[in-house]
Each structure stands twice: as C-alpha cells, then as structure tokens.
Symmetry: C2
Subunit: 337 residues, 2 copies
DNA sequence: TTGTAAGCGTTATCAA
DNA sequence: TTGATAACGCTTACAA
C-alpha cells in the first residue's frame, strides 16, 4: 500500500521520456522497446506509482467496475449470488461495487447515475423501483441487466429461474402427497416473482382438481413475524389447510412457529415448503423443505450478460432461465428426514 | 431518467453564456444573477443535463461517496450497521458503496485504491487483511475508519463495543447462575474481537474463582456446522461444561442442535449465550440469549468519525466505545422466557 | 456579475 | 519507436 502523489508526468520526467511513453508502458502497448519498458517499469515499481483512474476514466469513458443494485442487505439470499458475480468479474479484472436502495426511488436514481455518468460500466439490478419504460430507456443506452426479479413489462437482458414452474412443482409435490387443502403465504414486495409463484400455485391446484379460493393466498412480510401472522390467518379459516407453500424460508419458519403454538406438528399434521434454500432452512427444527435457486450460476450468468452489453452495445436482449430444484427436508414428512 | 450526452459546454453554448457561469449555477455559487440562474436552470431541466462527475472529481478530488469494506456478505450482522451508515450519509448527501473482500488481500488492495485514487472520499472498514503498519500509513494519508473489528496494533479512528467487557458480562451472568464449568466456542477469523472475548471469558472465570483450562475454549467456523462440531468437542471432554458462551448466535444454534442429539435440554441441562443478537437468535427454538451490539449507532458513529477525517485532515484519531447489552432468552433458563 | 483560461491525470492522434 | 500536444468535462483564479 505505497501511497504516492506521483503522476504520469513525474514518472516521465524522472525517466526522461514523454508521458506518452509511460502511458504506453503502463497499458502494455505493442510498440515500445524493451529498453524503454524496463526503464519505466523499474522506476514505477521503485516509487510505487499508481495511475490515477479518474484521469483515465475521464479520458477513456471506461471504469472497469460494475455496480450491483440490491433492494436490501438483510436478505442473505443475495450473498451467494454476489459471490458468483465477484468470481466472474475478478477473472475479467472488473471491480464489483454494491449499492443498497431500500425501496427508495430517489436513492436508486442516485446510484444509477453512477452508470449514466460513466463511473461504472454496467449495472446488475436485483430489484427496481423505476417504471418499466424508464428501465427500458436506460437499458437501451447503458449496459443494464436484471437478475432474479425483472420488473414486469421490461425488455432488458435478464436471468432468473422460472418462478411459476418452481411454485407449480412445489405445490404439485404437496398435492401428490394427498393434500386437498393447501394454503400459500405470498408477499407484496417482489411483484413479479410473487405473481408468477401464485400463478404456479393455482395451476398446480387446478391440475390436481382442487378448487381454488382467494382465502388460501395470504400476503405477508418477508420475515419471521410475518410468517407467524400469515399462518394464523390461514388457520383461523373455517377450513384450514393441511399444507402450506411459502415464498421464503423465513416466512416458512415463522409459520412453523405459529403451528407449534396451536399444537400442530409440522411434517405430520401440516406439511410446509419454503423458498430459496436459505441457510436458516437447514438450521430450524424441523428443517424446511424448499425450492433452491442456482445462486452461483445466477450471478455468473448475470455477469456474462452484462459483459455482452458492455463490449457490444448493439447486443440483443437475452432472457436466461436457470433450473430450480426441490429440496425435501423434515417439514414435509419424516420420511424425508 | 433522462439520458443525454450533453456537457457543460453544450449548455453554455445554448444559453449563450460561459461554461463558468453554468458551473456556478450548478453549484449554487453566491454571485450569480437571478436572471442567469433561471435561464440556465430551465435549459438544464429542459435537456436533462447531468454534470459528468468524473470531470468534477478529476478537478476537485472529491467524490461525495464513501466505501464500506466488508469481509463477507453472508453475515446479516452487517445489514443494520450499514443501514445506520446509509441513513447518516444520506443526510449529508454522500453515496455509500459497498465492497466485499472475502479475506482476499489482493482484492482488498484493489478496493482501497478507490480511496487512494480519490474515487471515494473515505473508507469504513469492517475487517482488514493488511498489516498494521500498512493500515496506519494509509489512515494517515486518507480518511479511513475501522468499525467493530479494528486490527490490533493500529491507530486509526474506530468504533466498536468493548468486546472484553461484553464477554465478561455474559460469562459472569453464567457464573452467577451457579455454573462452575463453562465452555467457550471462539473463532479463528476475527482476531481482535475473539482475543478480547476470550480474555473477558477468562477474567469472568477468575472473578468467580473458577479454574480455567485451555480445553474449555474451542475454536470454530462461524456457522451452524461449526457450532455443532465445536460443541461435540466440548461434550466429548471428560468433564463437559454445563454452560456455553459462543461468539456468534449461529454457532450457538449449532451447539444447541448438537446438544439435542445427545439429549441435553438447553436452558435446563445446559445454558447457552450467543453473540450479536442476530435475527436467527429469535427464530430458533429455544430462542438464544445473546449479547447485543448497538448496530445502528455503530454505523452512525463510523460515519461521523469518517466525516471528521474527510473535512479536517488533521483530525485526531478517536476510538469510540459503544455500550453492549445482554439479552436473556430461553437458552439460559425458562424463567427468562 | 460574468468571462477567460489554466489545470486536474490520463490517452490518442499525429508527426518525427 | 518515440514525443508533442490536444482532448476528456469540470472548477476556479483572475481579469474585466
């Protein structure tokens, strides 16, 4: 961590060459003599000179950094995806910066300005508060890809699982176990995935010839308390469900907590499936059956989509769908222990 | 989200004024006529001009952004602290960027370059892989503060709780309950806090006239599996403990899991105290008694320390210690349910 | 109050 | 292969 205020000019002066030559050495330009290269490089090493990247950015309009826009930091779900992003970017020598917008539209715009003012070369967004046509317009002019949760009616490159199919699979498993009355705990936050998962839920019921009624879908916050409350609503029904499909593992664990207070045994009296294969889903007791998303690959794919945009501005929009996986644990019957 | 490639020159030309005047308007300089201001502002609004902040940064060496350096994203402990940072920065009109270094020294250096090259005005670091004198040297030249986990033998501004006292309090509570044989599950990751907590642990034993032996401190990864393994080690001892102090709630929950497999009832046969008051500590069953850190205030304080450095380069280094709090839950006896 | 022009640290064009 | 110099977009003395 040598700290110098040296500029390319200082190096040039010391080496008795032009700044242009120093620049060529730094950037591994083809046409520099071995002699010059050695002289300049040894000097650079000696004084610990680091090119000022603001100057470079101003000149080249490239930052070799991308920005990851997150709705919140409190959901550990993102950690692994971002690890995938980091790994991929690290190989490409891109830096990864993260911004948290907390559902704040103004804040989101502020961070997006990092893109429009060329401070980052691209954005991977996990959630946007912008209107669809704003997103479309921006994505036309700048490298912007959506990950996991593309805003409805937008056309940018994106990567996610098939949320409808994932819900369909989870609920179909429940019907195949003989459940005739299944509740769903959904949310009112991530609009797209929730709508799709609700659609998958309904389709699975239909397929199993089970009547659907609105009371079976309860909306919840994405937390432990939310899961408890939502579950109570379901079990305050005249005809309560015998199984629950929840859109997050934390919600599922909250639901399990409520069930324990009314002496229902999860995995026996009531089967539960969560979503995301969060760390906590293996820590609770009983452990939670869940739908797993390929997080590392989600991140890696997002990066390659973004790089495509960065290096080829006319690149066409691609929507990549990655496979999900059902994971069976104790919350859906002891046979899966 | 209007997207223009306009520069200050274009605006100046359109408005038939100098670029200096436009600059003054943008920056709310005192000496501009109302007439000029109106003319320029309306034009700016009309065409949606946004000043290019790279140009501005190059000229002013200020970015109005800070960087938060995190060891990992998978620990939700940071989420609330960062919320405190965001809130504070938002008021000051500073942007907050986050970088994750995953214990990778090279990566950390890369992100620190954002500071040394003036792309961010300061850094709040939650963990560093750098050598103490490197940190000191950097912190002398640039605004850099450490939060929660200052590297030992460094002298930068920092904010944290008193980890030794926190451990002392937690373990003293355990001894006050009558425990004579207490185990500690520590880690080998965050060197500073672990060492301090171990010191607090020993001191509490000493104070209660309980002999200490090395076998009572077991090292663990900061996860569920680590907690299980560490707990097994403790209970494979000839003389196993009747209480455990763990340096994280996740470890504590892992320990509880192991205890359930050997038919020990937590809160009755064995008392357990965790650390951090993580979300999961309220979700497990039994719930986990823990040491709570004032996360929001930790973040806010870090920001004010940093702003002090940013706006007053000769500002003296301050070490702020914030109060911790013991939280009693089911894992230390049902009387605290 | 406004304009002129230098300069922040680079890279890239052109000429040598 | 190397050097001189303009340019990137902005702010800020200094002059008017």
């Amino acid at each position: 961590m040598v700290v110098t205020k040296m500029t390319i000019k200082d190096i040039a002066k010391k080496a008795e060459v032009s700044t242009a030559s120093v620049s060529r050495v730094i950037n591994n330009a083809p046409n520099v003599s071995e002699e010059l290269r050695k002289k300049v490089m040894s000097l650079i090493d000696e004084v610990g000179y680091k090119p000022n990247s603001i100057g470079k950015q101003l000149r080249t309009s490239k930052s070799e950094k991308i920005l990851v826009v997150l709705p919140t930091l409190s959901n550990p779900f993102y950690a692994t995806i971002i690890k995938g992003i980091e790994e991929e970017c690290s190989e490409l020598n891109y830096g990864v910066l993260i911004a948290v917008i907390n559902l704040n539209n103004e804040l989101e715009r502020k961070y997006i300005e990092l893109l429009t003012t060329k401070q980052v070369d691209g954005i991977i967004s996990f959630f946007s508060t912008l209107a669809p046509d704003e997103i479309n317009k921006m994505a036309e002019a700048f490298p912007y890809v959506q990950c996991c949760e593309p805003t409805e009616n937008t056309s940018t490159s994106s990567v996610s699982i098939n949320n409808k199919k994932a819900a369909y699979d989870a609920v179909s498993y429940l019907t195949s176990c003989g459940h005739k009355r299944i509740g769903m705990i959904s949310g009112y936050y991530f609009k797209t995935s929730e709508r799709e998962r609700e659609a998958g839920f309904k389709e699975a019921l239909e397929k199993a010839d089970i009547a659907f009624s609105e009371e079976l879908i309860v909306k919840s916050d994405y937390d432990y308390e939310g899961g408890q409350k939502a579950c109570k609503k379901l079990f305050d029904l005249e005809n309560p469900p015998t199984a629950i499909f929840a859109v997050s593992d934390t919600i599922a664990i909250g639901a399990m907590k409520y069930l324990s207070t009314i002496n229902k045994i999860v995995g026996k009296d009531v089967d539960i499936v969560g979503f995301d294969n969060a760390t906590v889903s293996k820590m609770s007791s009983p452990t939670v059956s869940t739908v797993s998303q390929p997080r590392l690959e989600l991140g890696q794919t997002a990066v390659s989509l973004l790089m495509d945009k960065i290096h080829n501005s006319s690149s066409i929009n691609k929507s990549v769908v990655l496979p999900h996986k059902l994971i069976f644990r104790e919350s859906t019957g002891i046979k899966f222990k």
